[in-house]
Symmetry: C2
Subunit: 330 residues, 2 copies
């Protein structure tokens, strides 16, 4: 691992004036039902409604700190990273263009424009990625990729860094996996601050490129746009940088759509927050992980964001799951 705790700490120092100190919430009912303690670091209350604000700001402040002043910042994203880079660029009055796939959540597209960025839509994620690569070649243009970038990774790691600085004796940290930026940063922060703490990830079974990559030992790409409600975890492949960190994880879960919807309903209900279905992926991992534990565990879950559109919300609440309270039994 090239990146160290010090790099996350440096990112934290740079971005602190621009981000929210997000709260850590708990549910006494959930803790009673599971027989363990679960802490939720609520990045849905972060600027732009997701942890991605950390990575975007980390990259931009790092550039500016090196004395570079880009004329134009560009990014590719299906949503939260788009808003994050738009938000970060605006803090320093740098023009931004964001390349997004057409299937991106509508409220994420509108919000990106709301932060003053120009949005360019393409039919697929791959087309988006190709476009940004081309534009990034222009002089004075700096491309902030959604996850495969050291300073983006360090920025994302500041969420777990903050939580672990506040909480003691955490046995395991869980985060969802899209391109792996959040998990990589979480791993770096956790290994540095609390070496005995396990770090585990989760992704949708229907978009399980990371799990496949870990099984095969090399990066595997999805071949088509995955069919999952977790729009934050629809990335076609993890990055070369993030894959190196993902290989160090202590566990990884592939979560079905029903379990994800179940936990989205229950976490909304118990924590009284609005959260993206992607946030619910780790909770199913937590449940499975806790099943074999003989002693009371203290677990940290990074709630990644709260930008959900109407159509997705409707799908999440189409069926009743609140009649089945959480339990460690099957």
């Amino acid at each position: 691992m090239t990146l160290k705790l010090q790099d996350v700490q440096a990112a934290k120092k740079r971005i602190a004036p621009y981000i929210n100190a997000t709260p850590i919430l708990t549910s006494s009912s959930l803790n009673t039902w599971l027989g363990h303690e679960v802490f939720f670091k609520c990045e849905n209350f972060q600027k732009i409604g997701a942890f991605k604000a950390r990575g975007g700001l980390s990259a931009v402040t790092w550039l500016l700190g090196k004395g570079q002043q880009p004329k134009h910042i560009v990014a590719n994203s299906s949503g939260n990273h788009a808003q994050a880079v738009a938000y970060a660029a605006r803090q320093f009055n740098i023009p931004a263009t964001i390349f997004m796939p057409e299937y991106s959540s509508r409220i994420k597209i509108r919000a990106t424009e709301g932060y003053g960025a120009k949005v360019v839509l393409s039919p697929t994620r791959d087309a988006t990625d190709a476009l940004v690569r081309e534009v990034a070649r222009e002089e004075g243009t700096y491309w902030i990729p959604p996850f495969n970038h050291e300073q983006v990774i360090c920025g994302q790691g500041t969420a777990a860094f903050e939580a672990l600085s506040e909480l003691e004796g955490i046995d395991a940290v869980f985060a969802p996996c899209g391109g792996g930026g959040l998990l990589s940063g979480t791993l770096i922060a956790t290994r540095g601050l609390s070496p005995k703490t396990r770090v585990l990830g989760a992704e949708p079974l229907n978009a399980n490129d990371a799990a496949e990559s870990l099984r095969k030992g090399s990066i595997q790409r999805l071949t088509e746009i995955p069919n999952t409600l977790a729009d934050g975890a629809m990335t076609m492949a993890v990055g070369e940088l993030t894959f190196e960190y993902l290989k160090q994880l202590d566990g990884f879960y592939e979560v079905g759509e029903e379990a994800m919807v179940y936990w989205t309903q229950w976490l909304s209900h118990l924590l009284k927050i609005r959260l993206e279905p992607t946030c619910a992926l780790p909770m199913e991992g937590v449940r499975q992980w806790l099943k074999n534990k003989a002693t009371k565990q203290r677990v940290l879950v990074v709630i990644s964001g709260g930008n959900v559109d109407q159509q997705t919300t409707q799908k999440i609440w189409a069926q009743e799951y609140l009649d089945r309270p959480p339990t460690l039994a099957e």
Copy 2:
């Protein structure tokens, strides 16, 4: 007005060890769009998920403070007050029975049982009210009504009391109206702490007994179960006590179902919280009130609670309103 700021302060002191210090949230996007500042006191993060915990605890701690130790506490409610009294009774190991109409939100029924209370269901609110009156006659039994009780009113007033102690220069406070307990307490706290601040209420147009009562100068009852998504404001009539306070309000709004659903979606989205549709009623009042204001106003809104069942959530999100950002124009 019989009750004074001192009574609210006394309630606050009694209940402080048992309640959450709830946060005040803001949305910079909303403030930009409206051109004013709106502060949200988020009682969805209160114990039992609603401000009602304050009133229930206020009544129980007042009884105990007087040296009374009831053998049995009873209450009638369609939901949040049920949970509040169950929760309050449990803090002091007093057995509780809660009488609820059958149409109450299922998660509220289950949660009330979860706090250790016995729940008795009846077909209508009136049947529920008749039953509780009968049981309340039994020796050693104390009935905590949902709103028409001085110490319940004082407890509900502690939410605005906390917010106004924290914020300066608030021009107006808005709260929703069911039986009028929250609004009455809010009025007492506000008149005492900040006499120039306006206090305004809102209720569903489809359950507008309070507005009718204010127009006619005497308490008017609904004749049938109202057709509204605002299950927290379905009360058949305000109380004799609360009506005296409601008459002192500086304004009152009757809000249609569509406007309520619109604001439920937008407040969920902007604040990233889970909230009951009842909470969205005041926001339509705020919008109408702000339309005529020439100078920038600072407004406080009490977000009453976050206990929403799956069926109601589905109805709230059936149609898209997030494509129309809030504005003061029609």
